[in-house]
Subunit: 209 residues, 2 copies
Amino acid sequence: MEKEISQAVIRRMPRYYRYLGELLDEGVERISSGELSERMSVTASQIRQDLNNFGGFGQQGYGYNVSYLYEEIGKILGLNETHNIIIIGAGNLGQAIANYMKFEKLGFHTIALFDVRDDLVGTKIRGIDVHHINELDDFVKDHNIDIAALTMPKSSADDIANRLVSLGIHAIWNFAHVDLSIDATDVVVENVHLSDSLMQLSYNIVKNH
Amino acid sequence: MEKEISQAVIRRMPRYYRYLGELLDEGVERISSGELSERMSVTASQIRQDLNNFGGFGQQGYGYNVSYLYEEIGKILGLNETHNIIIIGAGNLGQAIANYMKFEKLGFHTIALFDVRDDLVGTKIRGIDVHHINELDDFVKDHNIDIAALTMPKSSADDIANRLVSLGIHAIWNFAHVDLSIDATDVVVENVHLSDSLMQLSYNIVKNH
């Protein structure tokens, strides 16, 4: 893509995708930016601006073709390809991710979990093997892995992240409660800091009272 | 507070809190905005601006007192009070939240989980009871609940959210894959949309190649 698109726009694209999916489920074939704007509680001009980053998709006066727009946004988000995920940390959070069927439907397939705990190694989560972390290097070399999800404690997060990167993994979905220090520039990291989210909620409770 | 502080600033405050906590663990007593800026990879002027929203905390030339700043940001985030949480949905994600000790340390106490599944109702997660959802109304009336975490499927999320609000709960931590429609204005909602996060990662993988 020629133009650098801001992460703020990118953050909104999955939401468009979600709403368009709901419209499809309801059998809606065409929607104006005005109707979509009301439904999503954003301005119509915001919608037009966001979509214009990718070339538009609407015809003046005709609105958007829902299934076409759904598919195109899916392509923008890389959902026309499948992605293999490994999960480091097979505790509750790792298991929750492995169990979440929604990710499968979007083309994200968890193919292995890794842990150090004896009571977890050798078990299966929804049919997916939990391996010992010692098997990580061989497994990654033998499989095509697109994304590693980190759900283990923060103390080992940096070490594991750099090990994964040295094994050729370039995308990390980080749930560890730390900002990763990675010695490489071509790695994309998406953080889910649950404690930060909870603190933001807590701030808004205080402010609201 | 007189001035409305932007959510962008608020989103950054938990990160300050996290880094200051790490500094405290390392025994650092005082830090300049320059050093803090390098550590956090944000500009020193951003740090000064963010903290000035709350009155500053630094003395020119002396830097920040780490433990004082940590405590003050904690107060801003409402962490000087404890918060009781109930979790609706006792599957893996609900269990992950109930099991996460970090939240306890921040003063967020999970006191009950609710579900409809026979194999979950009556069990305990880290000593916390899983109740049937039918017991929700009585439980909420008998206890002081600050936050409800929603981890159940999106199909029932709106109904449960509005039921919780009518029972007097004003803060919702929403993990359901839907933007809630709540018929009240004095409710704060913090969303964790894991699929959206995964799609954003996927976009950045495509862009990076």
